[in-house]
């Protein structure tokens, strides 16, 4: 159904026409089919039944002829008639065979005809035999003649039976033919009736189908579209309505394009609404701006008044500036005098620096003397150190001697000990010796002690000598330091000499500079004069400036007036915008 809906209108029309044509064709085909049937039947008749009937008639006729011939032959007794009777018999047989060989004979008839045929054959043979005998008058015996006449009588019966049967056969066939024809006639009538019915039916169907097609697929969409358009045209401007697109034929296309057109219209109206709103807003803004502008103009007026007062002040200030510049020129004259004094002082300073140089040089000379003295002191101290070292060595040697003495005392002690041992070993006899041993021990201890004393003294002397050496070393260190400081002093003195010469040079420079200062101050005085002149000019200029300010003020007033006009126009614009909005809002988007 959907596919059907979507084909074009022309095609739909063609479809309905084709339905009609199809119906006509179907009815035609139906009638043709019937005609075919009749034709076939007629064909059958022409091919089979008619020849059969004809041949059966022929068979009867020929049979009758045959019998006649036989009769003639008997009567006349001519053999040639027998031959023609045979010929007729053959023809009869032939026609009977033709009947048999036809296919359209029913079974019953076939058997009957067969029987007839057989009977006929038999009859013919016998008849041949009998009648030939009867024909020949001569040469045949009486018995044979009697036999033959009896046979002829029986044959007569057969002959009548066969004749009847052949007649009945032919009548049957003729009747059959007649029935066939009447059948055909009936069928033709029937077929005519059927075809009329079919025709009526087809016509009705075609009409209904066409009606259906046209109304459903052509008329209804069209009507719908028309109603929608009416609605849109006459209604309240509802631009949101859309036509339903049911099918894709020309009407559907028309509907879709129409929808698009309405959509576009809707968009345009929306934009218009938007723009109208914006217009309203901007007109409102414009009104605001106009008000602001008026305010600013008022501000401008006030500001220009302020500026006018300020310029008056400026004029006053410039006048005071002129006065102060005159004062400045007076002060500069004072400065010039002062710089001359500075120059004089500088000369004095350079003279004194020369004196300083001289005195520093003499200091340098004295320093050198001091240095030479310190070197002498160094040499003397080193001599003293050497002497001390010798002293120390002598003391050590004494110490060595003391060691020998100590050793001797130890040995003596040992000896004393041994002696006392021997004495005790000796017992009583050794008592005197024990006393001697005791004394020796005492001597030993005394000598030990004195050796120790000597050692101690020697140590003292040694330590004192080392102290003295240390002291002398320190002294020599100090002398070293002194000589070092002398050299550094010499260097410093030289530097100082350098510095003083630099100083004198610089003082000369300062002298020069002071002269330059004096000259520049003179120039400066000239410049100040010019300044005072120019400030007078400036005062004039400020006067003209204040006139300009007043013109600005006038201009501000005129602008205020214009701003008011602008405001009025803005309000008008606002009203117009609201009207536009009202109109546009009528559309439903």
């Amino acid at each position: 159904m959907k596919n059907l809906m979507n084909i074009t209108i022309t095609k739909k029309i063609w479809l309905s026409l084709s339905v009609i044509i199809a119906g006509y064709m179907s009815s035609m085909l139906f009638s043709i089919s019937f005609g075919e049937k009749t034709i076939s039947r007629l064909d059958d008749i022409s091919e089979c039944l008619l020849p059969i009937t004809l041949s059966s008639q022929t068979a009867l006729i020929k049979y009758n002829e045959q019998i006649k011939m036989y009769n003639n032959a008997i009567m006349t007794g001519e053999v040639s008639l027998m031959a023609s009777a045979n010929e007729c018999a053959e023809l009869v047989q032939k026609s009977l065979q033709t009947i048999l060989s036809n296919q359209l004979i029913s079974e019953k008839n076939y058997r009957i005809i067969n029987q007839i045929n057989e009977k006929y054959l038999k009859f013919t043979q016998e008849a041949q035999a009998v009648y030939s005998i009867l024909c020949q008058d001569s040469g045949i015996s009486e018995e044979q003649m009697l036999e033959a006449s009896e046979k002829a009588k029986s044959l007569a019966k057969d002959k009548s039976a066969i004749e009847n049967s052949i007649k009945s056969l032919s009548t049957v066939l003729a009747e059959g033919l007649k029935n066939e024809f009447s059948d055909i006639v009936k069928c033709t009538h029937f077929s005519h009736l059927i075809s009329i019915c079919v025709f009526v039916f087809v016509v009705l169907a075609a009409i209904l189908l066409n009606h259906f097609i046209i109304s459903r697929f052509i008329k209804n969409p069209l009507n719908k579209t028309i109603s929608m358009l009416k609605d849109i045209a006459q209604g309240e401007g509802n631009l949101t309505a859309r036509i339903e697109i049911e099918n894709k034929d020309e009407i559907g296309e028309f509907a879709s394009w129409f929808n698009i057109f309405i959509l576009k219209l809707q968009d345009i109206i929306k934009n218009l609404t938007q723009n109208a709103k914006e217009l309203g807003q901007s007109s409102g803004h414009l009104t605001g701006y106009a008000k602001e502008m008026i305010l600013n103009m008022e501000n401008l007026t006030t500001t220009s008044k302020q500026v006018a007062s300020a310029t008056e002040q400026l004029t006053a200030n410039i006048n005071s500036m002129a006065i102060s510049s005159e004062e400045m020129s007076m002060n500069i004259n004072n400065i010039a005098e002062a710089s001359e004094d500075i120059a004089n002082n500088m000369n004095n300073a350079s003279a004194s620096t020369h004196d300083m140089t001289e005195s520093i040089k003499s200091i340098g000379v004295h320093i050198q003397n001091g240095q030479s003295i310190s070197t002498e002191a160094m040499t003397l101290s080193s001599e003293a150190t050497q002497n001390m070292n010798l002293l120390g060595r002598a003391a050590r040697e004494i110490g060595k001697v003391t060691d020998v003495i100590k050793r001797i005392s130890v040995q003596t002690n040992l000896l004393a000990l041994n002696a006392s041992i021997e004495a005790s070993t000796a017992g009583e006899a050794g008592r005197g010796f024990a006393v001697v041993a005791e004394k020796i021990k005492q001597f030993a201890s005394q000598s030990t002690q004195s050796a120790e004393n000597i050692a101690q003294k020697i140590n003292d002397v040694q330590s004192k000598t080392t102290n003295a050496v240390d002291v002398i070393e320190k002294v020599s260190h100090i002398i070293d330091k002194i000589s070092e400081s002398y050299t550094s002093i010499t260097m410093t003195i030289e530097k100082q000499i350098q510095t003083t010469s630099d100083l004198s040079l610089q003082i000369d420079e300062i002298n020069n500079r002071t002269n330059t200062i004096a000259s520049s101050i003179y120039e400066f005085a000239i410049a100040v004069n010019e300044v005072s002149k120019h400030s007078g000019d400036a005062a004039n200029k400020t006067n003209s400036f204040s006139e300009i300010i007043s013109t600005v003020q006038d201009a501000a007033e005129t602008s205020e007036f214009c701003a008011n006009n602008v405001q009025a126009s803005a309000t008008e614009l606002d009203e117009i915008a609201t009207k536009l909005n009202e109109i546009i809002n009528k559309f439903i988007v």
Binding site: V410, Q411, L414, L417, N418, S420, I421, A423, S424, T425, G427, G430, R431, A434, K441
Partner: protein, 162 residues
Amino acid sequence: MTTSEKNKNGKLNTKRQFCTFSIGRHYFGIDILDIKEIVDIIELTKIYHAPEEILGFINIRGHVHLIIDLRQLLSFEKKEIDEFSRILLFTSSVGESFGILVDTIGHMVEVEENLIEYRNHEDTKTNLSEKNFNTLEIAACKLKDKLLIILDSRQILKLLKK
């Protein structure tokens, strides 16, 4: 030399003389009758494969004497021979031709017999070194400022045999 005098109690107040020496911080003394000589010049001839206590031989005026380190016998640490080391030679009554090395020699000291306190022989100690000490040390005596330990020189050789 023992001098016999009668004291106030009527007992024999024998004085005995000891030759004193020190080893380590200990002050020892040996009966002077056992000592033949004290020698200070020490020129030892080392004996190889001998026990460590035996320091070697020394030749005194043609006589060869065996020198024993008393420090080792008393289980002190070994000390180098310095200028104060002396050799004490014993008489033949103690042992034949031997002496001991000591650290320093002190004076000859005379003490009264009754001040000497002899050791009790029931004291036994398990430590081997103490045993040495025990066998050697037989008495102790208080001097003015020191304690004098009296050794028996005859035990020295016996110790060596162990």
